[in-house]
Amino acid sequence: MTMVGWLRQRRSAITFDFGAAGIRAFQLTQRGGCTRLCDALQLERTPSAEADPSLAEPGAAKGPPALATFDAAQLARMIGQGRFDGEDVALVVSPPEAEFFPVQLAEAVLAQPATRILQALTWEVAQQSRRSADDLEVRYWRLPLGRGTQANVMAAVLPAKLAAEWCDLLARHRLSLRRIEVAPCALVRLARQAWTPAENDLWGVLDLGLRHSTLTVVVGTVPTYIRSVAASTRQWTGLLAAAFEVPYAVAEQLKREHGVAPTNRGIRAEAAGHSLLRASDLPGAFSSVLLEPLRTLAHEVGRCFGYVMQSFPDHGVKRLFVAGGGADLRGLPAILQAELEVPVSTLATGPDVPWEHPLPDVHVVPRAAAAIGAALLDLEAVPASRGGRGAPGVNLVPATRRHAQACVRRRVAWVGSCALLAALLALTWGAQRIAASAVVQLGNEVAALDAQRAEFTRRMAATNARRAQLLGRLQTVAAARRPQAWPRRLVTLAREAPEGVFLTGITIATPVRDPGPAPVQNREARPVAAGRPPAQRAVAGGEMQSVRLLGYALDHGALLQFLATLQRLPGWRQVELIRATQEPYRGALAVAFELEGRTQEERP
């Protein structure tokens, strides 16, 4: 089972079986190989001889087929009342609406495309039924080749006009006729749920209706022989009503309640103190009344089996299923089994009849078997011709109508797809617009951040400018602060002066610009610089102050020591002895000297 099979739920059409005794509607769903009931509806029609004159006399003329006169409005109401899904409807048809013709077609014809085969088959059927080919809706399935048989195709035929009318009737109520299935194929398909025949098994399905009965003889899984048999439950009820002189409806009720039972005694003799007939004796009494038609039915079925076995002598008759409303007659399978000496069972689920492939949720009763089988065929994913479990199904809906329905379905699907795409497109386009607007908003946020950052940059520049201004002011203030070297320098001079040296004068000239380690001739430039205003001379680069010291020394040694001391002192530069002469000083001779040096002043 594929994953798609598990995920996808298949749904059959709402399959109707319009019978004379009642209407049955079934819809099945299938998911992952499990078939379940979607909804079912069964409406019984009370048999009444007064309402239906054809029921009064067993030999009266048959009325119109139930399906041919079905009420589409009633069908639409029934669908509305149920829990069915969708508007697709399938119909089950059986003789006399549908007819079956075994036809022999040349193998060359069968090798042609399906449309060609149908054309040839329609012409053949028209020849056999002496009707116009245009008025026939024909489908077919291949028949197994038997000994001495000529037919290799079974054609199922329905009047095209009738099928078209049904389509139109249902279309007026917004229903679509998706399938018209023939009852024999539907019953065979349902019977395949009950058991699995071998290729050489020969078996049958007897559809006992109120007005008509149809026997389908199946070879393997292929319905090979389909024939209407001269038996009907209406006939049996009529016989009972005549025999017991009771109304038809009472006879029908008695027949359903008590059924038939095989007996050799017939009607019991009168017993003292008891009524003439007890309820427990009714099946036997009914069996006596219906003995002849039941035997006739069994013989007819047996003859059909024998006829088919002539073509398939190697096959053995395995069993017979009884379906339709007549199969509800209690004791009927036993009588038929006794007559045919073949296992006979009703096509119904029950504790005593185990099915090989039971349908969960679906309670199969004989009178609903055709509807359920047709629903199964409609649900079938793989046709029987490709190995499916069921019998070959046919769909007698006119090809033009099917194509029109397919067109409508595809149009709806395409329109839905386009609408869905349009909705998705609109949705994604809207989402894209929202995203685009969000991106625009994001761009605005980025622009705002950029502007904010520009503002910060501007503030940073302003702050830096302010900082530079403050630094300038601080530098100005700091530049105005002067090193106060002279007090310390004078104290050092007084302390470091050696013994025997007396200073009598000190002259500190106004500062001049530091000439650096210039040659001696540059000294001539000093007066020029000194002649400038102080403010002009006080340029950056340090200033030199010329210091002239006057005094007396006791001897030249003391003077030289003083000179050496000055040259060592920090801040003193180019200390030179200008003059040293012997002069009297305080009554003695002393060396009068004059020293000139320079002191380094730090720049302002």
């Binding site: 395409w414 904010q452 910060f456 940073m460 300038g472 100005t476 602060r481 002067r482 002279w486 106004t510």
Partner: protein, 194 residues
């Protein structure tokens, strides 16, 4: 109408529907996929840009706060320094203080001749020529006290002389003090700048 039977049965509505779907697909490419791509690219670019700008902005904010704080400290320092530095308004008070310190140092002032202030760069300079008498030690003490009280001046020129035969240790003193003044507070040049 069936326009193709095999390998698949195709009706005319299928062609029309497929064309419609194709139109929608093309419209989706044109209206949605293309703009989505552009929007996505713009979003990524702007998101990266916003992240980078945000990080830079945070750095700028932190740096600006730091610079602001430094500037405030600098302002405080400059304010303190300006409060201490003499200016043109306090010139007379400075002269008075000089004479007071000289007297306190036992110096006899014979003349005090302040010169007009002249601009020298960002500040004003004014030379004060002072003449007097006193001991050299007192003069050094005077210079030391003046240096401690007002570092915004310097000894510009000086002459100490004593008669060698004099018995008293008094010297003739003549010195010039150069005063460095900031412009007056109401002067437009207040604060100067580099």
């Amino acid at each position: 109408m069936i326009i193709c039977h095999r390998p698949w049965k195709i009706y005319d509505v299928d062609a029309v529907g497929a064309a419609g779907v194709l139109v929608f697909v093309l419209a989706a490419i044109w209206l949605v996929l293309g703009p989505w791509q552009r929007t996505w690219n713009s979003y990524r670019r702007l998101a990266d840009e916003r992240m980078a700008v945000g990080a830079k902005l945070r750095d700028d904010v932190a740096k600006l706060e730091q610079v602001d704080q430094g500037t405030k400290d600098l302002e405080q320092t400059v304010g303190d320094q300006l409060a201490r530095a003499p200016n043109a308004d306090s010139y007379s008070r400075l002269l008075s203080r000089i004479t007071d310190v000289a007297k306190e140092c036992q110096l006899e002032l014979l003349s005090v001749a302040p010169q007009p202030a002249t601009a020298s760069g960002a500040y004003l300079v004014s030379d004060v020529q002072i003449g007097g008498r006193g001991r050299s030690r007192d003069f050094i003490l005077f210079l030391d006290r003046l240096a401690q009280e007002n570092p915004y001046q310097s000894l510009w020129a000086c002459s100490l002389s004593r008669v060698p035969t004099a018995t008293e240790p008094l010297c003739d003193l003549a010195w010039t003090i150069r005063m460095y003044l900031l412009p007056a507070a109401n002067d437009g040049r207040a604060g100067g700048g580099s």
